[in-house]
Symmetry: C2
Amino acid sequence: MGKSSETEGYILAPDPEAVRLTRSVTGRDQTGALTEINVVEERPLTIFLNAREIVTAMTIGDYPEYLALGFLRNQGMITDADAVLGVEYDAESEAVVVRTEQVTRFEEKLTKKTRTSGCAVGTVFGDMMEGLEGLRLPLSAVKLSELYALASKINRTPSIYLSAGAIHGTVLCEGGQPLVYMEDVGRHNAVDKVAGWMLSEGVRPEGKLLYTTGRLTSEMVIKTALMGIPALVSRSGFTAWGVEIARQVGLTLVGRMRGQRFVCLSGEERLVWDIDPASVPDEPKKSARKGAE
Amino acid sequence: MGKSSETEGYILAPDPEAVRLTRSVTGRDQTGALTEINVVEERPLTIFLNAREIVTAMTIGDYPEYLALGFLRNQGMITDADAVLGVEYDAESEAVVVRTEQVTRFEEKLTKKTRTSGCAVGTVFGDMMEGLEGLRLPLSAVKLSELYALASKINRTPSIYLSAGAIHGTVLCEGGQPLVYMEDVGRHNAVDKVAGWMLSEGVRPEGKLLYTTGRLTSEMVIKTALMGIPALVSRSGFTAWGVEIARQVGLTLVGRMRGQRFVCLSGEERLVWDIDPASVPDEPKKSARKGAE
């Protein structure tokens, strides 16, 4: 199968041959022989909200604007009420600045907070949970045929994971079709880049599904819920708190999805058994992705 | 083989049956049948340095005192110069306080910093890199026979990974013997708990080796180097910057170690080929750990 058919239907697919994202490194294998392997890049990126330095993220380095925008949005640092004027990336200083029309509520809060305790780190987590109160994700169907089609397509999509490993992927999907496939050294970055892309392009979350190679932790569940996406699927496992939050907001949470098998621990009412899982071929060994966590 | 022989020689081994660390959750499998699976817990833990709130970490919840102490040490927030008076954990408020005899240099710096830019997050990373300047790890031998013995022992050690998945492990080892095996939902927490244990017990890093189930990112390499441990080994892959820092400080970095195979991308001068890798049995399928990243 040619590359073109494997990325058919994608709006944004990974670019495993992009020069800046991986590097060839020479070392020794177990026999002592020289060996050359391809490893992923990892660079610091400092995110600013207007004049304020927010965080330095370690990232593979593609789509810094989407990463910054998605991060701030998923952390509740910018909301619908904030008009984003622009996002500027400066490669030399490894920094990206998100500018809003007016001072954000978050910046105001931060100013108060730093006057008292001096550090903003602790507030971030509270702000994320705050955004979940009263949130109920829209009802929509998740067909098993689509789940299996997605897993199969995503596993065959040329990616940095397949060429260099040590990376996480998050894929925005709709109706059995992967649309936007982001990869990053941190799984939170990959999902933030998807969020940033959706914001920039004005793409609505209804009817969408997120597929991730990483674990279904509270952080992944919260980000997905804050993005308004009603279903999150992974090859990997769950954490108890991730499951708890998913149930609280009505998110469909499917994990340990490999070949025919999967487990759904929340939001099973969305699942539609339109095909017999026994009819699905089991994962071929050669294309088997590892259980990246 | 009985459990006792599998944990022989350990000072601290995982306790996969500990009640607080995993939870049984009911869901549906792909056939629609009810299924019950074991998932790991994930709890917030807020770390204080004296009166100052530093960070809220998401953790499985064991050894909060080691986690707090190791985190602050690995971030360069406490140093040898700071006399630690005590570490107090309060389960109800999910907080742990590390108290030092005098105000730390980090707290002084933070006070200055928050007066200007208002946020301490960005300084953390810079502080970690600062600790690496001029650091050269001691020379010591890493025998291949020990590497293979460690991988085999660790993979057979009863763990939360084997019983519930979705967790990372970091193991402090010496001469082919695993000593302290910590697990956590974040790989940085697992290594910080090892660091906290070493500090509390006054254990020296010379001649030790760290084994991790996670990727060899810059963060893992920096933490290992700051702990003074000369070798870091993983089943998982590398990032380019992790390799660069390892070479800079002279850390032996071995990755992609599965069965007979491995790749060494830094510090190969410590490796001693005392056995023929071809004589090592390949990893049996049933005990194969997944490539947790």
